[in-house]
């Protein structure tokens, strides 16, 4: 089990401090119960906002990876046809529902869309290297993102448990005060 008690934050996400004892926690923060609960709820809200952002990034990356794999597939197919002198006949979509036939001979190079309205010509080998590097980067980013999400969810859980414990402690204190205020008849 990780001793994440030593981490105060991860990539901008503040860590939730684990509360050993509710009484000590409240006196350290110098807050009454309601203010403490409000503070914790606000923290939960902040965590939710970050979670939404990370989930959106995760969706983007998860869509990007199959796209890059498809591109690699196409380049590999073009490369395999190169030496044979065969031409590759492919049907492609010109507009929605309308297809046309293309005859691709001896694919010396491919053009890769790099984004920002830029497209560059690459030889098949160079294209494969570039695409594989992009794929590796995307997978690595996704891993880091998943770790961030795990950390975030842990902090949310800790905060939720703290809320429950503060609330219970308060209820318990009220009961004690009531018991003192209305002494039972002996």
């Amino acid at each position: 089990m990780s001793t994440s008690a030593s981490l105060t934050e991860r990539r901008g996400i503040p860590a939730a401090s684990f509360v050993e004892d509710v009484q000590t926690y409240l006196s350290q923060l110098n807050l009454d119960v309601n203010s403490a609960l409000a503070f914790l709820q606000e923290r939960l809200q902040q965590y939710r906002v970050v979670e939404m952002k990370l989930l959106a990034q995760q969706r983007d990356l998860q869509a990007k990876i199959p796209d890059i794999e498809k591109c690699l597939d196409v380049v590999a197919t073009l490369q395999s046809k190169k030496g044979t002198g065969e031409e590759l006949i492919a049907d492609f979509e010109v507009s929605e529902g309308i297809y046309s036939r293309a005859c691709i001979e001896e694919a010396e190079s491919v053009c890769l869309w790099l984004g920002a309205n830029v497209m560059l010509d690459y030889s098949c080998e160079e294209a494969t290297v570039l695409l594989e590097k992009n794929l590796e980067n995307a997978k690595a980013s996704l891993e880091v993102l998943m770790a961030d999400l795990q950390f975030l969810r842990d902090q949310v859980t800790i905060t939720q448990v703290t809320v429950a414990r503060v609330y219970n402690w308060d209820v318990h204190q009220r009961r004690l005060r009531q018991a003192v205020a209305t002494p039972s008849e002996s």
């Binding site: 089990m1 684990f18 498809k70 492919a90 492609f92 842990d154 859980t157």
Partner: protein
């Protein structure tokens, strides 16, 4: 899945308990992800099987096989071997996912025992 405490509990929550609760939450999230991935893998397998069947029924020699965004004209045998390759890859992935799911379910059951053991009614680890 709620993990709220009840109002009468006085049981102290230690850092170890908190880590167990966190781990349970993480496992539960991963379980849902794995179940979704298993569903997709099963659907892909079915599609590949349908494609394979269509291939047997067709009498054309050249099949239009989707590579990337285009449909390339590929000889039937090559399509057959490609589909076989894809099916094998998906099946292997499916086996791996099912194994992961089993492991997660087992770990969650063990954690449930520990947490219910300590907190009894004060904690709820069921799906709502």
């Amino acid at each position: 899945m709620s993990k709220a405490g009840s109002s009468a509990s006085e049981t102290e929550v230690t850092w170890e308990d908190q880590q167990n609760i966190n781990k349970f939450g993480r496992l539960n999230n991963r379980l849902h992800e794995v179940e979704d991935e298993i569903k997709i893998a099963k659907e892909t397998n079915e599609s590949l099987e349908d494609a394979g069947n269509e291939l047997i029924l067709t009498d054309e020699d050249i099949v239009r096989f989707q590579i990337g965004e285009v449909f390339a004209h590929v000889p039937k045998e090559e399509v057959e071997s490609r589909i076989e390759e894809m099916t094998e890859k998906t099946s292997k992935n499916l086996v791996k996912l099912e194994e992961e799911k089993e492991s997660i379910v087992a770990q969650m059951a063990a954690l449930k025992k520990i947490l219910y053991g300590k907190f009894k009614d004060s904690i709820n680890l069921e799906e709502d």
